[in-house]
Symmetry: C2
Subunit: 127 residues, 2 copies
C-alpha cells in the first residue's frame, strides 16, 4: 500500500493539484497530476504536473525557470484533490507573466484583469 493509493485518480488517471504560495497564501495555479507526476513531485521536491494539452509530464519551470519548490503536500477528505505549498521561483507562476493564474475577477457581469504582467512572456519563453 503506497501513499499514492490514497488518491482517487479520475478516469484519466489524474487528480487536480492546487499550488499555494507558502507565506503569502496566494493561490498561484491549478493544474493536474498523474501518479508519476505526484511521485516525482514528492521525490524531487519540485512541482511536476501532467500537461493535458501536451500529453506529457511537465516539470514546472523547465522552460521559464519558474520552478516551484515544494514545502508540503496535502490531500483532501475525499482524496480527490491535492494542495501544494510552494515557493515560487521568479515570483511568476502564470505563463502570461503574471504572479498567478487567477488574475481575472468577476465584476458585475464582466471578467476584469486585476493583476499586472510582470514580465513579457516573449522574454520568459525564448525559442
Amino acid at each position: 500500500m503506497s501513499w499514492l493509493d490514497a488518491i482517487k485518480w479520475d478516469d484519466q488517471g489524474l487528480v487536480p493539484a492546487i499550488a499555494q504560495e507558502a507565506g503569502s497564501g496566494k493561490i498561484l495555479m491549478m493544474a493536474w497530476m498523474n501518479r508519476e507526476a505526484l511521485r516525482l513531485t514528492s521525490e524531487s521536491g519540485h512541482a511536476v504536473y501532467w500537461s493535458r494539452s501536451r500529453g506529457k509530464l511537465w516539470h514546472k519551470g523547465e522552460e521559464s525557470g519558474h520552478q516551484q519548490i515544494v514545502h508540503a503536500i496535502h490531500l483532501d477528505c475525499d482524496g480527490d484533490a491535492v494542495l501544494l505549498e510552494v515557493e515560487q521561483k521568479g515570483g511568476i507562476a502564470c505563463h502570461t507573466g503574471r504572479q498567478n493564474c487567477f488574475y481575472r475577477e468577476l465584476q458585475g457581469d464582466e471578467w476584469v484583469e486585476v493583476l499586472p504582467v510582470l514580465k513579457d512572456p516573449g522574454e520568459i519563453y525564448k525559442s
Copy 2:
C-alpha cells in the same frame, strides 16, 4: 455573450472551484460547479456547487449551516478553474468537522492528519 461563456466547462459540463477563506488565505475545499451552480453563486452571493456523488446542486451549508459568503470570484488564465474568496460560516468547511478539507499532510510516505475535528459530524448533520 455571457461571462459564463468564458469558462471552459469539461466534458461533463463542470469546472473545478477552489474555496479560499478571505483574510486568512486558508484553502477550505475544492469542489465542482456546473453553469447553473456558478450563476447561482454569483447571483445569491452564497457558494453553490454541483455534487457529483448526488448528481444535483449543492447549496453549501444547506444541512450543516456552514454556508460560504462569496466575496470574490476569480477565473484562471485557461478559463478552466475558478477561485472563490469566501467567508466560512461556523469556521468549518469540511464534512468531517474540520476547518478545511486538506487536513492530511504527506510526511515521509504517510498521510498524517494535521487538523483537529472541531465539531462531531453527528452534531453537524442531524438526521
